[in-house]
């Protein structure tokens, strides 16, 4: 595989400028310059990519067309015929979603002494958590503080974040690191125990904790193993929730699951419900490739919205600046921000820097798009995909030979499969759809606007405002997973359940009709449609 002759020509220029660039630091943009760049080049600002919702609690708010279609679709369940009298599973807390947030919620709920059922669409652990490579933020060094972390988060979110949620995020962070360690997570440390911590885009202190570049995988497999160690937590795999069930008091009271292999429906009755179904990168907004796992289709947001939950920041998505642009087989897959954190610069076809490598992700991404689309300084692959160079060999020069292999084993392996040695050759990158900044509006205890319905993780909205910093998603899933799990369990102990009903689904149908909509599609989507059928 490896690079084409044209790309090699460009790499020669990158190599030629490298010794000079080792001494150079690109200027950071001012807040005003950042805003200008975002308005002109960030996909969130492309008007034709979004539309206003016409029904539901957020009617009038804008969201990407692809998401709006699913939010305004019909249910997969016929509320008139579905038999709510036959309950398949009875539990105290139902956790929907088997990623990092769901696992954290299940663990903390179980610790309160309640029965927990965790249902997930694919395998337990098939989640974006597993793919997060770079790290998890926590202000635990003497040079740092939760207040500085707060400022970084809120500035990174362009001052739109909900302050109380940010406070919860940064204040819980050190405790979360300790908790993960107590469960057996292996964070990178010096021999004396000092955590190895790095910068990420938009951080003013080094606070990125890592587990090589398998940080998310390390956290996910540890949480999963812990859940499996606790007999009081039941796990149902390949059983996505296709509709929430409320009771006649308007409280969340369970869900209808679907056995993904047989198509059978399963009714779960629960006293409280935690939604932790993650994001929606697999909806491929504006045709972007994505870093997300196969199941990231926004299912939880859809069913929460139909149950009346208010959403927030659903008009902003995160495009990770460094998705793989070549080779085609891994198009859109994440190249961890840690590569830039370790010192790799971003350069154009001529081998010149054009942006400070650790701007916040949205600004960095917009700068890449500008370099390729406006200035024509991108590298074009045989399939027409533009990209810019991420100069990973610099890391070997800066931090010593062997650093790339040691610090980025997953990245090395990823590219080696296609004949590219990233310790010697740069990677071609371009923005890729990475993260759903918004989602179900959250309180600090993980509660939503629907009684007894909690949420945690990428499904939620408000923590990150309009842009999330690297290392705050693994933090968010654990901080709010724990909070939601604990709160849901405490609530489950006191709740007086009413009669199960799907009345909200009937009401939804009426609202669609009143808005003059007659959608032909059903949602949630569950699986992206990638199959090709000849006829």
């Amino acid at each position: 595989m490896s690079y084409t002759a044209e790309m090699r020509e460009s790499i020669k220029k990158v190599e030629a400028t490298r010794p000079r660039r080792m001494e150079e630091t690109h200027r950071r943009l001012t807040l005003e310059e950042q805003q200008d760049l975002l308005r002109r080049f960030h996909p969130d600002y492309l008007r034709e990519g979004m539309r206003e919702l016409r029904v539901g609690p957020n009617a009038g708010d804008r969201t990407p067309n692809e998401f709006a279609d699913l939010l305004e679709a019909r249910s997969r369940v016929d509320p008139r015929t579905f038999d709510l009298s036959r309950v398949d599973y009875d539990t105290d807390v139902l956790v929907i979603g088997g990623g990092g947030a769901g696992a954290s919620a299940a663990l903390l709920a179980q610790e309160q002494g309640v029965r927990v059922l965790l249902a997930t669409k694919l395998r337990f652990g098939d989640a974006n958590t597993m793919m997060a490579q770079g790290g998890i933020q926590a202000a635990d060094r003497p040079e740092d503080s939760p207040a500085i972390h707060y400022l970084d988060v809120i500035g990174g979110g362009h001052f739109t974040n909900i302050p109380e949620l940010v406070e919860a995020l940064v204040m819980d962070a050190p405790e979360v690191i300790r908790w993960l360690e107590s469960l057996g997570c292996m964070f990178d440390k010096l021999p004396d125990g000092t955590m190895v911590e790095a910068h990420g885009g938009g951080t003013s202190r080094k606070r990125m904790h890592s587990a090589r570049d398998y940080t998310g995988a390390e956290i996910m497999r540890t949480l999963r193993d812990e859940v499996r160690s606790r007999p009081d937590i039941q796990v149902l795999e390949f059983a996505p929730a296709i509709e929430l069930v409320l009771d006649d008091k308007g409280q969340a009271a369970g869900a209808i699951l679907m056995n993904l292999e047989t198509g059978d429906r399963l009714l779960v009755r629960a006293k409280t419900v935690v939604l932790a179904t993650g994001g929606s990168g697999r909806l491929h907004y504006q045709g972007f490739p994505t870093t997300n796992h196969y199941g990231a289709t926004g299912d939880g947001v859809v069913i929460a919205y139909r149950a009346g939950a208010r959403l927030a920041f659903m008009d902003t998505m995160q495009y990770h600046p460094t998705g793989a642009a070549y080779p085609e087989q891994i198009l859109g897959l994440l190249v961890t921000e840690k590569v830039r954190g370790l010192g790799a610069q971003v350069v154009n076809v001529d081998g010149e820097q054009f942006v400070y490598p650790l701007e916040t992700r949205d600004v960095e991404a917009a700068a890449f798009i500008r370099e390729c689309k406006e200035r024509g300084k991108g590298v074009i692959t045989p399939t027409g995909q533009p990209g810019v160079w991420l100069d990973s060999p610099m890391i070997e020069w800066l931090k010593g030979p062997g650093t790339v292999e040691k610090a980025l084993p997953a990245m090395v392996r990823q590219f080696k499969r296609f004949g590219i040695d990233i310790a010697k050759e740069p990677m071609l990158v371009y923005p890729t759809l990475h993260y759903q900044n918004g989602g179900v509006l959250l309180q600090t205890d993980g509660s939503t606007t629907v009684p007894n319905l909690f949420a945690a993780g990428e499904i939620s909205g408000g923590v990150h405002g309009r842009n999330r910093l690297m290392g705050n998603s693994l933090l968010e899933i654990t901080v709010f997973g724990r909070r939601a799990g604990r709160a849901a369990a405490l609530k489950a102990k006191e709740v007086k359940p009413g009669r199960l009903t799907l009345e909200h689904v009937l009401a939804w149908e009426r609202q669609l009709a009143e808005a003059g909509l007659n959608p032909q599609i059903v949602s949630p989507l569950l699986l992206p449609e990638y199959t090709r059928h000849v006829r």
Binding site: M1, E167, M171, H199, I330, T383, R413, Q414
Partner: protein
């Protein structure tokens, strides 16, 4: 651009697919909507473990469907799930001692050291090597050697004596992380400061700032040098 099509055999049935596709995309090209055998699509989750042979070659090959490009006359099947022994334990009451490892996984000592697991690992890990370390109770070495494990289960699927190598490995990593890794004093110090309420006032103040004041604070941040 017209792409060259190559024949592949998915569970014995022939499909002609573009030569540049990964096995996973080739299966979708062939018309499969994947439910099992698909996960992160990025080489991290271990859901898409695949076994294949090439025509005229007696070697059995292993890979991840999302990371392996098709080859002409590839005969493949996926092993998305493999039943494997997993010990019951409570990490908080274990001791990081070899004897605990042997009592939780007595079959560990049945390992022949044959190395079939190493040949099957799509991550190219030294599985046999970490099993050897486990047999001599070197938990830290198991943790280190097995760190990149994605728990796909191919090692267990191929083991002639029925080991579940990846479950032994995660136990060792958890024992290492919890008990053997050096403690972080700065983390303990920070937790004590938070418990003492040392940052409450600073957070309250930040929350009360006007947008302009907050922006000014943000701009004035001192950035810690690399």
């Amino acid at each position: 651009m017209t792409e060259e099509l190559v024949p592949v055999f998915i569970m014995g049935k022939r499909y002609d697919v573009p030569s540049s596709l990964t096995i996973m995309k080739a299966m979708e090209y062939a018309g499969y909507q994947l439910v099992r055998g698909v996960g992160c699509r990025g080489g991290f989750c271990g859901a898409c473990a695949t076994v294949y042979r090439l025509q005229g070659d007696d070697t059995l090959y292993f890979g991840l469907a999302c990371q392996t490009v098709v080859q002409p006359n590839m005969y493949l099947t996926q092993i998305p799930f493999f039943p494997a022994q997993r010990a019951e334990y409570d990490i908080s009451t274990l001791q990081p001692r070899p004897e605990r490892l042997f009592s939780l996984y007595p079959e560990l000592l049945r390992c022949l050291g044959c190395g079939t697991c190493t040949k099957a690992c799509p991550q190219e890990l030294d599985v046999k090597g970490y099993m050897a370390a486990a047999m001599r109770g070197d938990i830290a070495r198991v943790a280190d050697l097995s760190f990149d494990c994605i728990m796909c289960g191919l090692c267990a699927a191929r083991c002639p004596v029925g080991e579940a190598q990846y479950n032994i490995a995660i136990l060792c990593r958890r024992l290492y992380g919890r008990y053997l890794a050096p403690r972080s004093q700065h983390l303990e110090d920070r937790l004590a400061e938070i418990r003492a309420g040392q940052f409450n006032q600073a957070l309250e103040e930040l929350k009360s700032l006007s947008l302009d004041e907050l922006k000014a604070r943000y701009k004035a941040r001192q950035i810690e040098p690399e």
